[in-house]
Symmetry: C2
Subunit: 431 residues, 2 copies
């Protein structure tokens, strides 16, 4: 059976979803069972980089959520309206919904989830927080055995990009924001990002799943990053910290029945902390649970491909669940592989190598090595000769460029024959 | 309906599983539907720190996999036999299986998955690779939209502990291994860990799921860390690298139809790489997919709580699937929260603060500040006065200890009244 998707919105995320579904080879085996049957757009005349049969494209979005043939409505319009009304109408019509809309879920999740419960349909939202990072699924399922005690996250890419540049370049906020706007990492009106509204939306969703209760967006303490100066970053650095816009959700004092703490604000993080080294537009979420301990997820929090990855994962989950009937396996939980992979022998590997060599301290040694490597097409990336010579020996370290294992081993075999070589204590590969 | 689990093995992992199921409050709402109905142990007389009705404990493990009342067999014995035979017998009897046994899955997954397919039962293995990190579920489901191009991982905690200590302390391999053995991070016979066998088992499982084909363990190139010396670590550091035992699986040259590369060996990793800062016994997996990009998961790869977290997640998944009948929601995919969380007001927050203050450069300033903070029960962790004084002003940075927001704000209000204070340009919170 084929499952029919009605796609609402054909912006960057919608186009990303369409590209995955139109090119299923090498992806999950359920993808060919999923068909984009209707596409709703605001303007029919806009040029797009994905192609559809013109008959399935419409600017009447309501006709899609009312179409009896559609099984799953995918909402990637963004914004509150008409997205919210379309989602509710789709649910009322008994359709499953996949949405990437953090603003709608954070504000109207209450109404939407109550409606979905009543109509017995799925509302999936992996893409609504942290884009390509599969943190929603982890909270719903993989970490289900745990009592979550704390969830902290860098959940806004724009501010993390700005703060990372300020940290590394000592630049000021204003200049960095202007640069981010020029590069497309920040909007012309940056309020939602730099003042923490976007992060608060996501924390509402994540905290709700982590702690099993709905969250009122207005209850979240929120502070943006406009006040951070390069002087602050400098001091933070000197004290062993970096500064990040952090979302923090936890049970106060770790007490199980105590109130939740949820807040979004710029935060000094010890440089050894796993979130301190999350730089640029990357998002990351750190979850502490009993008994699992500390688990950290990081990845792209936004962008066409990353968000589409999460949307399509949700579609697959819904389809798998719909296919699952008693005495039949939910395909997502089984193992679909049936064939042996053909594994390349190590000689075919192309990688960088590190080698430490002991040579007799004579003129021409470096030349001998260089000639031997070059003869076997091994280019060097770095060569380092230390002054510490003992017993008339010199220690030389080389790092190659990307070379085939076969070529490298042949070069090493030749080098072992050099009269100037004493020994090769270590050979390692470089990632 | 209650689902009956037969637990094979009551070592650290088995005891961890039992502890979670005996204490379901605050965890996933499905847990109370799961009952440990039989427990199989090697010795009935051993003292244990989990208690069961003695009538359900037996040393006849086969009687459990043959018991018609059991729905799900959880195998946490470890080792090849009798684990493998018990798993196969459970499947033959139509039972679902959850296992933490990487050795059995890596070597006999072929036979086990074929049998499970034939008998239409689940075989779940989240705990078989990387303990508490939900990477198996991500590969099966959350990243299903992607074409995986590369999976790299620090998948063995013992070797990462040893290499981390060598990196930070300049210690030698032998001494560090001895220390790790004394602390219980390495076995008396460390071969499986330090020679890369354990990592190869896990990479076989992960690569199989990432690339959709079974993997022959013997095809994986494997090299351990015995040859690494402190000199190598020193050079690597000087060159901007750290050394990790890395599992690498990828399509050669990124070509979709090309052979797989799978190898386990010590590897120099650029210090900026997301896996370079994974230290100690922590595991991490980096997955590159099209279109998601780079996603990194890190967390505890072993230990009672972490592994039990994964085992119980699998049990929940099976139970949710068994409960799911047409027109009924698979509970794991819906949202179970129905109540609003009570959110603590920000004043109740206890945290560390960072403040940057400008003061008039007069004697007694530090004393005034210290007195004001102390009066409001705000203890200081660090205080830093820079020599750069301009316009007769001194810049002072303080970091507090954990204090309540209310106390801190009252202290700040008092400080604002000090005649020696010029202004407080920045106040931030510290994680």
């Amino acid at each position: 059976m084929t499952y029919k998707v009605g796609l609402l919105g054909l912006g960057t995320v919608g186009a990303g979803v369409a590209k995955i579904l139109q090119d299923p080879n090498g992806r999950h085996p359920l993808l060919p069972d999923i068909e984009i049957a209707r596409v709703g757009v605001r303007s029919l005349n806009k040029q797009r980089d994905v192609a559809f049969d013109p008959n399935i494209v419409t600017d009447d979005l309501e006709s899609i959520v009312n179409d009896p043939a559609i099984n799953i409505v995918v909402e990637v319009i963004g914004g509150i309206e008409p997205a919210k009304s379309l989602i509710l109408k789709a649910i009322a019509n008994g359709k499953h919904v996949v949405t990437a809309n953090k603003a709608v879920i954070a504000r109207h999740g209450n109404e939407i989830f109550s409606a979905s419960k009543q109509k017995n349909v799925y509302v999936m939202l992996e893409a609504a927080a942290c884009g390509g990072i599969p943190v929603i699924q982890a909270l719903k399922q993989s970490l289900g055995a745990n009592r979550i005690t704390e969830l902290t996250g860098i959940v806004n890419g724009t501010t993390n990009y700005i703060l990372s540049r300020m940290y590394f370049e000592g630049a000021d906020f204003g200049d960095t924001l202007a640069e981010a706007q020029k590069l497309g990492y920040a909007e012309a009106d940056p309020t939602a990002d730099v003042d923490g509204y976007d992060a608060a939306d996501k924390m509402a969703i994540l905290a709700s799943l982590a702690f099993g209760d709905r969250v009122n967006l207005e209850d979240i303490y929120r502070e943006g990053i406009r006040s951070i100066t390069s002087a602050d970053i400098g001091y933070a650095k000197e004290l062993g910290f970096t500064i990040k816009l952090l979302g923090i959700a936890r049970r106060a004092a770790g007490k199980e029945e105590s109130d939740l703490e949820i807040r979004v604000h710029p935060t000094l993080i010890p440089i050894q902390h796993p979130l301190a080294n999350i730089h640029g537009v990357t998002n990351a979420v750190r979850i502490e649970g009993d008994p699992v301990g500390e688990v950290v997820f990081s990845g792209p929090g936004a962008g066409s491909g990353a968000t589409a990855s999460a949307v399509v994962a949700d579609i697959i989950n819904v389809v798998a669940a719909l296919k699952s009937v008693p005495n039949n396996i939910n395909q997502l939980m089984g193992c679909s592989h049936e064939h042996y992979a053909k594994i390349a022998p190590i000689e075919n590997t192309v990688t960088q190598f590190y080698a430490r060599l002991l040579t007799h301290d004579k003129p021409g040694v470096i030349g001998d090595l260089g000639t031997a490597f070059g003869h076997h097409h091994v280019s060097l990336n770095a060569i380092l000769q230390k002054n510490t010579i003992h017993d008339g020996l010199a220690e030389i370290v080389v790092v190659t460029q990307q070379v085939s294992e076969l070529n490298f081993q042949q070069a090493i075999a030749a080098i072992r024959e050099l009269p100037t070589l004493h020994s090769i204590p270590t050979i390692l590969r470089v990632l």
